[in-house]
């Protein structure tokens, strides 16, 4: 998980070499939500400020907003999730990615947790 950062709302984000950010939800989040059955995705081109809700994930038992870890513009969404929402459960960091954005202020990354900090954060929540 080196280079991956996390929010307190349990999104993860990685920055590619082209400077695009890929966003999904953490393994802890998918485990808490249980079976995910649908995802409402934003339109490509929509703009979000940091920590604004950008998508909605519905599991059998709960609905959950997905917040944008960084400000930016949506450049791609994982359309395959409409057929395979369960990929978020099965492969939260790979097949289950949700949105790619072009960040407008990469310095916002400093507000986010490293993998180590996030696992501590989750550990606290489980106590």
């Amino acid at each position: 998980m080196e280079g991956t950062k996390f929010t307190k709302e349990h999104e993860w984000i990685t920055i590619s070499s082209e400077g695009l950010a890929m966003i999904g939800i953490s393994d802890f989040a998918q485990e808490q939500l249980g079976d995910i059955v649908s995802v409402e995705l934003p339109k490509v081109g929509s703009k979000f400020r940091q920590m604004q809700p950008m998508a909605i994930v519905d599991s059998v038992k709960a609905s959950s907003d997905i917040y944008s870890p960084l400000s930016g513009e949506v450049v791609q969404v994982n359309d395959e999730l409409s057929e395979h929402p369960e990929w978020i459960n099965e492969s939260p960091y790979e097949l289950g990615w949700i949105i790619k954005i072009k960040p407008s202020n990469i310095e916002e990354l400093d507000d986010l947790m490293t993998a180590g900090q996030y696992s501590e954060f989750v550990g606290e929540m489980e106590k």
């Binding site: 249980g34 079976d35 059955v37 409402e40 909605i56 519905d58 038992k61 609905s63």
Partner: protein, 358 residues
Amino acid sequence: MKTPLYDFHKSYGAKMVDFHGWEMPLQYSGIIDEHINTRSAVSIFDVSHMGRFEVRGSSALDCLQILATNDVARLRDYTALYSPICYYDGGIVDDLIIYRISKEKFLLVVNASNREKDLEWIIEHCGSANVENASDKTLLLAVQGPLAARVMEKVTTHKNLDRLKPFEFVITDIFGAESIISRTGYTGEDGFEIFVDSTRTDIWDKLIEVASKFKIKPAGLGARDTLRIEAGLMLYGNDIDENVTPFEVPLKWAVKVEKPDFIGKKALTSRIIDRKLVGFELLEKRIARHGNEVFLKNGQRGGFVTSGTFSPTLKKSVGFCFVPTYISPGESVELSIGGKLYGAKVKNSTRFYKRIGN
């Protein structure tokens, strides 16, 4: 509170959840997996959190006839029926199953969330009958699914369990322990419920072991909820409560107005009904939840969602909602979920799934 099977749930990897003060298994392998297993094979549920009361004495039948909207006098020994019990204004106190063991001995199974309230209400209106809270005396297990009868024949010496009709029961044995086994359940599948001494927690593991070739799996409250919604069955606290009458929801069949008297009869027979609970199918990929508002074509508020889920069998987003009585099946409404409106279609009943067979 915990049922005697709490440690078993933990050992089977259950994710536990608070359910009206009870620490209960929400899921083990996953809600959808458990749901599908119940529809295709067989599942075992611990429902020991439900309340069990014994009503005894020569006035037991009269007392239950006054409380229940359904006709308890129709019961023969070893048969059971489903009934709401109502307040004087027609609002629902609870919905329960009444088992007739003999003319002077009945067993009631009530919702976990209503145990104390029900006991008070029943004692208050059953002056001369002997009402006892027997909830802690037994475990209550539900074995549900198309293979349930094949599982049950392996665990009891009773020869003709498969001949039991729905809502019939026998007093027999399970792994040598005296038990009541009834052909009841709340999943829309064939199935049995087992009452057995609360010390016999070993039966959980034994049942699962004996039934392993039938692919039995434990299932939790999550699957119990999705199964009952697909089957169109009401859940107290979600779809029915003290502000809802049986005539507003699909429980009219369980109200026998021809009975001489029962609590709530006067109100029910005179009250004007202006809303009804219907099934809906959401046309977009969201899930409606309890409390989401319903809007009609003219933009007016029309009611609210009482239950909503993803149906693993139909692979659709479904649920129940209140709408004005003039809304017809097939009409479109909109549901407000998280402040956004989503189209939904009104169905002709709350039942989305009916198993093949009886």
